[in-house]
Amino acid sequence: MSDKLLLSVRGAGKQFMQGSRLRWACHNVSFDLYPGEVLAVVGESGSGKSTLLRLLASRLACDEGSVHYDVREEGAAPGLVNLADLSEARLRWLARTDWGFVEQHARDGLRMNVSGGANIGERMMALGARHYGKLRAEALTWMERVELDASRIDDLPGTYSGGMQQRLQIARNLVTHPRLVFMDEPTTGLDVSVQARLLDLLRELVDQLQLAAVVVTHDLAVARLLAHRMLVMKDGVVVEQGLTDRVLDDPQHPYTQLLVSSVLTP
C-alpha cells in the first residue's frame, strides 16, 4: 500500500432543516484513506452514512469541515486539494474519470435507454475515444471481467436481471480505472445468492485493481468481507472506527456491541 494519502476528511458534516429545527444529518466526521484501502461505513437507517457518502463524492456541500482529495493534475503541485475549491467542471471531470459511484439501485447509475455496451463505453467517449471497434472491444473485455454474458452487449439494461444491472454499473464505473470508488449499499435488494456472487466479484476487483473504496452498508457481513477498515455511525456521528476484524470481534462502543450481537447467523 502506498504512503500517499488519497482522501482526507476533516470534521465534515451536513445539516438539514427538519420541520423548524436544524439537524445534523452527519457531524464532525474525520478519517484518512490511502490507496488500496477499503473503508466500510456501517450503520442503521438514519445513521447519516448515506449523507456522508454524498459529502465525500461532492454531491452535497459540507456545512462544516472539508473533504480533500489527491487530484493529481498535470502541471499542478502534488498533494491534497479541498474539493470545495474545485470548479464544477473539474468535479464533474473527476467524477467521470478518477472516481466511481456505484448506486444502490442500478437504474440510478445507468442509462436505461442505451445498450450495455454504450453504457460501458460512455466514459471513454466522454474522454474523446472515437474508434467504434475499439470501444466495443473494450466494452466486451469489461463485460467478461464482471462476468456478464458478452452476447448481451447490445441489449438494453432493462432486459438485464438486478444482479446483472449491478455488474454493468460496476463495469461502467471501472472502465476509466478510477482510484476511488464510492458504493452505496451495492448488494442490498438483490437475491442472496446474487449478492454473494457480486461480493466475490467486488472483492476480486478491489484486489486486482488496487482500488480504494468507501462502502456504505448496513450489513456487517459485507463489511467483514470487503473492508479492511470500518466506521460505525449512529445518529450522524462516528461512534467507533478501526480495523474491521477488531471492531467486529472486539467492539468497544455500546452501539457497536449492540449491532454485532444483533446479527443473525443461520
Partner: protein
C-alpha cells in the same frame, strides 16, 4: 539478539455495555519477549485468556492497557497505536496467525484461500497455487478437496487449511492457536515438523498447544497466563 515481538504491561478487560457495563477482566500486566527461533507456549486452563492474549498480539483484540510492539521492516512498530493500514501491512509481511476456527470466506476454493497470503506478497497466481498445493499435500489434504470451498470440511480438514494458510507466507512472527486440536497423530506430527522448521529458519512463535506431547516437541519456553488473571 533483537526480539521480534514484545508485549509490555498488557491488560485486557471486556466491558459488556449490553449487560449494564459489566466488566470481565481477562489478564493484566503481561510482559513478554520472543526472540528469533523461540517458541513461547501459552499455558493455563480453558478460559484463562490464552486465546485472548494471542488475539491481542495479532491486533484482533484491542488492549485495555499496555502495548504490543513488533519488529517490522527492521524497525519497531507499536501495534497498539498503528494505523489500520500499517497493521494490514504487518500481517501481510511479518505476522502470521493460525486461528482456532477457520473463518471461511464463502465460495473461494481451498487452494485459493491458501494461496492468498502469497498473492498478497506479489507472487504470481499460478506459482502461488502450486505452492499452496504442496502445502496441502504435505498436510495430507486430499487433492479432490482443493477446488472446493472448505465450508463443508470436517474440523480436522478445516484446521489443516488454516495451518497452510497461516504458515505459507513464511512470516518471521507466528501466532498459533491450538493448531493441532482436531488432528490425528500423523497430522500432528506434520504440524510439529512445520513449526520446528519455522523455528529453525529464525521465526519467533507464540502458540497455544492443548496437547502436551506437541508442546514438549515445539516449545522452548512457557508462559502461564493464569498467573496474570486480574484479581476480581
Amino acid at each position: 539478539m533483537t526480539a521480534l515481538l514484545e508485549a509490555t504491561d498488557l491488560s485486557k478487560t471486556f466491558t459488556l455495555h449490553g449487560r449494564g457495563g459489566l466488566a470481565l477482566p481477562v489478564f493484566s500486566g503481561i510482559h513478554l519477549r520472543v526472540l528469533p527461533g523461540e517458541c513461547l507456549a501459552l499455558t493455563g486452563h480453558s478460559g484463562s485468556g490464552k486465546s485472548s492474549l494471542l488475539r491481542c498480539l495479532y491486533g484482533n483484540y484491542g488492549a485495555t492497557a499496555g502495548e504490543v510492539r513488533i519488529r517490522h521492516q527492521d524497525q519497531w512498530l507499536s501495534l497498539s497505536t498503528a494505523a489500520p493500514r500499517e497493521v494490514m501491512d504487518v500481517r501481510r509481511l511479518t505476522l502470521g496467525y493460525v486461528s482456532q476456527f477457520l473463518r471461511v470466506i464463502p465460495r473461494v476454493s481451498t487452494l485459493d484461500i491458501v494461496a492468498e497470503p502469497l498473492r498478497r506478497l506479489g507472487v504470481a497466481a499460478d506459482v502461488a497455487r502450486s505452492q499452496a498445493a504442496e502445502w496441502l499435500a504435505r498436510l495430507n489434504l486430499h487433492e479432490r478437496l482443493w477446488h472446493l470451498p472448505p465450508a463443508t470440511f470436517s474440523g480436522g480438514e478445516q484446521q489443516r487449511v488454516n495451518i497452510a494458510h497461516g504458515l505459507i507466507a513464511g512470516q518471521p512472527v507466528l501466532l498459533l492457536d491450538e493448531p493441532t486440536a482436531s488432528l490425528d497423530a500423523d497430522n500432528r506430527r506434520v504440524v510439529v515438523e512445520l513449526i520446528c522448521a519455522a523455528r529453525a529458519r529464525g521465526a519467533a512463535v507464540v502458540g497455544i498447544f492443548h496437547d502436551d506431547e506437541v508442546r514438549e516437541a515445539v516449545a522452548s519456553r512457557c508462559l502461564d497466563v493464569e498467573q496474570y488473571r486480574k484479581p476480581q
